[in-house]
């Protein structure tokens, strides 16, 4: 296990290096010139001699790989450069905005778990009854709904028509309801269906027939045997969708003016604030890769089939 974790950590470092390199190279390939940008943001039109001198000072004439090394060194010290839009270091911006995004994603994840499990279980237990049909029908729409459209519809209905919420979200429980609803409805729909399918598959297993034959109450079969077996892959998938939550948040945050990093990066893109965009990419990569690693390790610890190195397939 230790060996496995070490191996994964090495992989993680390689992936992160790759991501930083790609990030750096794409920024390099952009037509804009950092030296020129510096003067333009100060409201000056520099002469070509001055530009050349500044380029030399900023090290822009060095070979790309040297520049990458220097940049990476700074990144490792937490120095991601300065945001031209906000006039603050990228680090300050990130530490200010990241908690908001994490809060939104965290609350959404909890809501997804709390709602999708009861719905999925209900749907499976009441298979082909009215409740099952209603859940399946609604979740079908939930899955196919573009999240940005859902956001606008919810906003129109609850903020404009009914006036229950403000159009611009605030950092309060009331302000979170609409963004969280938008993020969770598609996920709840998708997970309710997957939980239902996983449970039904498990209910067909031989041990369930055996348990029924021995007269064990249905309730105990479901809660004691079927659920623990069916749930593991779902938990893992849920862990993986943390990344999806963080990524999808960009659009939702923009719509609801939620002051997280997704909203920040869209703003940054509009004004071509490259250090900020780079900071965003690196942070997202870091979070996503780390979450994947944790999920993966947890999966190996929890699943007896992997833990005991017995493979079914």
């Amino acid at each position: 296990m230790v060996k496995y974790i070490l191996k994964r950590l090495v992989q993680l470092v390689v992936v992160l290096l790759g991501v930083t390199f790609l990030t750096f190279m794409i920024t390099q390939a952009t037509p804009s010139d950092a030296a020129e940008m510096k003067y333009v943001s100060m409201g000056m039109m520099p002469s070509s001699e001055l530009l050349e001198k500044t380029r030399e000072e900023m090290g822009l004439n060095d070979p790309v790989i040297v520049q990458y090394g220097r940049w990476l060194g700074n990144v490792l010290h937490g120095d991601l450069g300065e945001s031209s839009k906000f006039g603050e270091s990228v680090w300050t911006q990130m530490t200010k905005k990241l908690p908001m995004t994490l809060k939104l994603a965290g609350v959404s994840l909890v809501v997804v778990i709390l709602v999708s499990f009861p719905l999925g279980i209900l749907s499976a237990v009441k298979k082909n009854k009215a409740a099952d049909y209603i859940i399946r029908f609604l979740s079908f729409f939930g899955v196919s709904m573009p999240n940005f459209w859902l956001a606008l519809l919810l906003m129109y209905l609850f903020a404009v028509k009914l006036g229950w919420f403000k159009v611009v979200s605030t950092d309060s429980i009331q302000g979170m309801i609409l963004p969280v609803a938008t993020l969770t409805i598609p996920m709840i729909s998708s997970y309710a269906r997957q939980i239902r399918a996983a449970l039904l598959e498990e209910l067909n297993a031989n041990y369930v027939v055996g348990a029924r034959a021995r007269g064990i109450p249905e309730r105990r079969i479901i809660w004691g045997h079927v659920l623990p077996n069916a749930i593991l892959p779902i938990i893992t998938l849920l862990g993986l969708s943390v990344g999806h939550l963080l990524g999808g948040a960009a659009i939702i945050e923009t719509i609801f003016s939620w002051q997280g990093i997704g909203n920040m990066v869209v703003e940054a893109i509009r004004v071509r604030d490259y250090p900020l965009i780079q900071g965003y990419v690196i942070w997202m990569a870091l979070i996503y890769v780390t979450v994947n690693l944790i999920v993966d390790i947890a999966y190996r610890c929890l699943d007896p089939q992997i833990r005991l190195r017995k493979r079914v397939d």
């Binding site: 940005f148 906003m155 269906r193 997957q194 990524g247 923009t254 869209v266 490259y274």
Partner: protein, 295 residues
């Protein structure tokens, strides 16, 4: 995510997904469902490519006297902030949205499949490099990566196409690689070699035909997702340039008029929604029919 866990999860996920919509148990029911979905897609495609001939107005024609008028009367879906007819814009926009989606799907499926086949069939160092590259790319949620790339290269349609291609080809490459590396070891390949068929001949006559059906299923399933990805980017104002009617961008415009003219965003979103549903249903039923595991 280690390879082993990944494959297990992916299998689990696709097994679970498959039972989402599946209600038809019999072979006949499956085909009936497939034809229904195909008909629905045909209707949507017809509207997409010929709809503009039925458009009541010019999608770019402004009419300030009738701006922000509600649906009904002479403007069935209402008008926008400069008095352009929303229905006409949706009908014209359909062509643009679909064209772009299909071009994107064509780019990523061909690119991914070719890279995947080369990687899987020849193996070796190239294979390792390509697979590590897909590892890096797959280590990201695709929206984040696409946003980041467009962000770094600057907004615009071409950059959006590049960004999405960069993110989406990996899926096809993975699948094609997996299939190609299995096909490589088959007896008929060895026999073809003994029979004097060259490498190019083997690739085109034996490897490719075995991979294409899977690519087609994947591509059909991806139409909805790709349309959403494109719409999402243009919704953020990163892809499409005004005044070209395009559904995602119409939603973006409609957002500003949420309070005074909600119909802009309602109808533009509805168009995307219906398209995505229809294509997802077709993809699902196609998989039901063609999935070799089922037969």
């Amino acid at each position: 995510m280690s390879e082993e866990t990944k494959i297990r999860l992916r299998k689990k996920k696709s097994e679970l997904r498959k039972s989402w919509f599946r209600t038809a148990k019999t072979e006949k029911g499956k085909w009936l469902r497939f034809y229904c979905c195909l008909a629905a897609v045909a209707v949507v495609l017809f509207i997409a490519f010929f709809g503009k001939y039925f458009a009541p107005y010019d999608p770019l024609e402004t009419d300030y006297a009738a701006k922000l008028s509600a649906p009904g009367g002479s403007h069935l879906f209402g008008t926008d902030n400069v008095g352009r007819d929303v229905l006409s814009r949706i009908l014209y926009g359909a062509g643009n949205s679909f064209m772009l989606t299909f071009i994107m799907i064509a780019i990523v499926s061909v690119l991914g499949t070719v890279i995947g086949i080369v990687s899987g069939f020849f193996g070796g160092f190239l294979d390792t490099v390509i697979m590590r590259l897909t590892d890096i790319l797959l280590a990201f949620p695709d929206t984040v990566f696409a946003i980041a790339i467009v962000g770094m290269m600057g907004p615009g349609l071409l950059n959006t196409v590049i960004a999405l291609s960069f993110v989406w080809w990996t899926k096809y490459a993975r699948m094609a690689r997996g299939l190609a590396s299995v096909i490589r070891t088959k007896d008929y390949i060895t026999e073809a070699r003994f029979g004097g068929v060259g490498t190019a001949g083997i690739l085109f006559r034996y490897v490719l035909p075995n991979i294409v059906p899977q690519v087609v299923i994947m591509a059909t399933l991806d139409v909805g997702g790709m349309m959403l990805a494109l719409a999402g980017l243009s919704f953020l104002g990163l892809a499409s340039q005004p005044p070209t009617p395009e559904w995602g961008y119409m939603l973006y415009e409609g957002k500003s008029y949420l309070q005074t003219a909600p119909w802009i965003m309602i109808f533009a979103g509805l168009a995307i929604f219906v398209t995505v549903i229809v294509f997802n249903l077709l993809g699902d039923s196609l998989r039901d029919i063609l999935d070799p595991k089922e037969n």
